[in-house]
Subunit: 377 residues, 2 copies
Amino acid sequence: MPQTMTSADLRIRNQVRLLRAVHDAAAPFTRAEAARLLGIGRNTAAALVGELEQARLLHEVPAAAGGRGRPTTLLVPHPEGPQVFAVDFREDTWTLAAELETGEHDRTPAVFTEIRAAVARHETPRLAMLGFATSGPIRDGHRLHISHLGWDEVELDSVLGAGWPPAVIDNDARLAGLAESRRGALRGMGTAMHFHIDFDIGGTLLLAGDAQRGGHNIAGEFGHMPLTGSTLECMCGVRGCWSLDVGANALVRRFGKQPGYGTGRELAQAILRRAEDGEPEAVAALDDNAAALGKGIGALANALDPEAVSLSGLGVDLIRLRRGRIEEACREQLMAFRRDEPPQIMPGTVGAAGPLTGAAEIAWDAVLDPVWVKDRL
Amino acid sequence: MPQTMTSADLRIRNQVRLLRAVHDAAAPFTRAEAARLLGIGRNTAAALVGELEQARLLHEVPAAAGGRGRPTTLLVPHPEGPQVFAVDFREDTWTLAAELETGEHDRTPAVFTEIRAAVARHETPRLAMLGFATSGPIRDGHRLHISHLGWDEVELDSVLGAGWPPAVIDNDARLAGLAESRRGALRGMGTAMHFHIDFDIGGTLLLAGDAQRGGHNIAGEFGHMPLTGSTLECMCGVRGCWSLDVGANALVRRFGKQPGYGTGRELAQAILRRAEDGEPEAVAALDDNAAALGKGIGALANALDPEAVSLSGLGVDLIRLRRGRIEEACREQLMAFRRDEPPQIMPGTVGAAGPLTGAAEIAWDAVLDPVWVKDRL
DNA sequence: GGATTATGTTCGAGCCGGGCACAAAAATTT
DNA sequence: AAATTTTTGTGCCCGGCTCGAACATAATCC
């Protein structure tokens, strides 16, 4: 337990708290407000801010006179301060954020050199950290596994190694949940869950604003629990997975289409539109999908007791079209004694930008950190 | 975020770290070792220990001369220092620890006055905190719910209120897991799970040595997820719960007995003995129980990715008699890509003392805390 | 008995945050 | 227009903390 603390560490700690507050704030606040917020004196705040200004981490700009009192300054990120880039790496495309560049790719790990070049095109000395979102699990933090692409165990060091800026990386569904937890629908919750519904269901358990990673960094495959009684065989190698009844694959399977990763998304969207138009078969498919979703959420709520559950991807459509059915199925699956306080089920507010936002979030986590800041000043 | 820190708090913090180290250590260590362990100087350690000695929290005893060098002292809890009592409150009995007293009870909340009297019999001025383990969930931290006793929502303030020493309280299955996580089979793991198998299955997710409580403090009902495809109706009000296939109720049901909380435990044990003797029907029941257990663990491992899973109660017998069957069923339920690293499944090492040990643990958590220690000195 | 080794002890230095008094700059009141 | 009120910035001193270095102490080893 080498979490030693000397008085110098104390200052860094308070400076990080200050930086984090500025970074997380919806609107800029003044130095005096910051002092009150952190519970420190105005004089101490002045000293902290002074050092951070000198390290080009924080900047003071004159504040518009609000009421009485001596005019003060607003605290904003320094214009020459550190930046992070976020990369959302999907099955077929990648995006460098914030909306800097997007490209398709050839589905081989060689795409990383492409991304590296794109990063270089926009890179400035201010780039401090790169956040990656990948569409597959990253085992033990360094072995990337994307079955849709046939990537079995791509060593991150070999594709993200020398020649790259410092980088952090995590799974997209987990990062989408983190984004909701930090900046979206799940903000401020102690226990919550997020599910991203695409071809199947990926998700994450969020505790006090942190996404849980598990012992081998591959937690989150909630879609591969047998929660709905299906007897089909799943691509993951097991029978009966929840994902067999929820998501794009489940929708298209009802119409005789083989689940897959080609045009499945468009097909699923088309089915939803036909259901909106009242086509009976599509309506039934939608209803079943919503019910299976709600049932699974209820089952998980029994075990993990989340305050709320947010959804992204197809889940947003399911809530929009069949909120009642989802909630009803959830309620039926809840133990009787907890039915009077069911978990809130809601669409994520970060939306499709979830993985990108989450990737930026973990990149900032790495920057707004005592050791990084200490190094900088 | 008023986690303000002044230099005075710094000292308290280091003192708490020191106390915690002494409390958690398997064998006493010397003052110089403590300094190295905490990463502080020998002089600082002397100052910290001095104050703690004066506050009667730590005591120094001469150490047996080990090798060269000036002889030193061992750090041990102060003989007049704080103590905690732990209470394990079960459906029909209660125990005041460490094995101080045990009694039966009449299944009404009036039993708390009985326990209060027992506490008073052993109480000394050193008693600092009482830790309670209950056999039911404690909603929102203050409403106790034990369905077997017909206790719907017993307000803790009304039974544990004035006239009691300071007390902390939690659910028994959760505390058993905490005990394994802090002092037993799960020690040192970042992500682990514990299941207590009795009539049904209760459990907890353990992250970095802490049991997760959920949004309403009622997390842990893993036994009430539909993981095994059962179609029976469960007492909890839902169909298909995992607990319908695992545990004492599941065992006795196969023999035409209604599940219940009377002689169920003895009956289940008898079935296990008959299975050991080779009686075919009992063997089948045991096999099915073990398989259902393994299947559920595998399903949960897909989602939560624990490094290990420990079991208590009937689970210990199941591992002893049918480890292979459990592991095989678990493996079949694991997603193919994670079958080469299945979670370790093992019996808890704290054993039947789990709830009691866990209750002591949360009591110590409340004592070995900056605010408590600051108050004392 | 002297050298070696590990630990305890003392003292000064550097740093941190708190508290106080006072200065500065606005809005409000007179 | 001047005085008052309100809020914030600044400078100074204080108590507290940990650290590092030098020295003292008590055992073992040769």
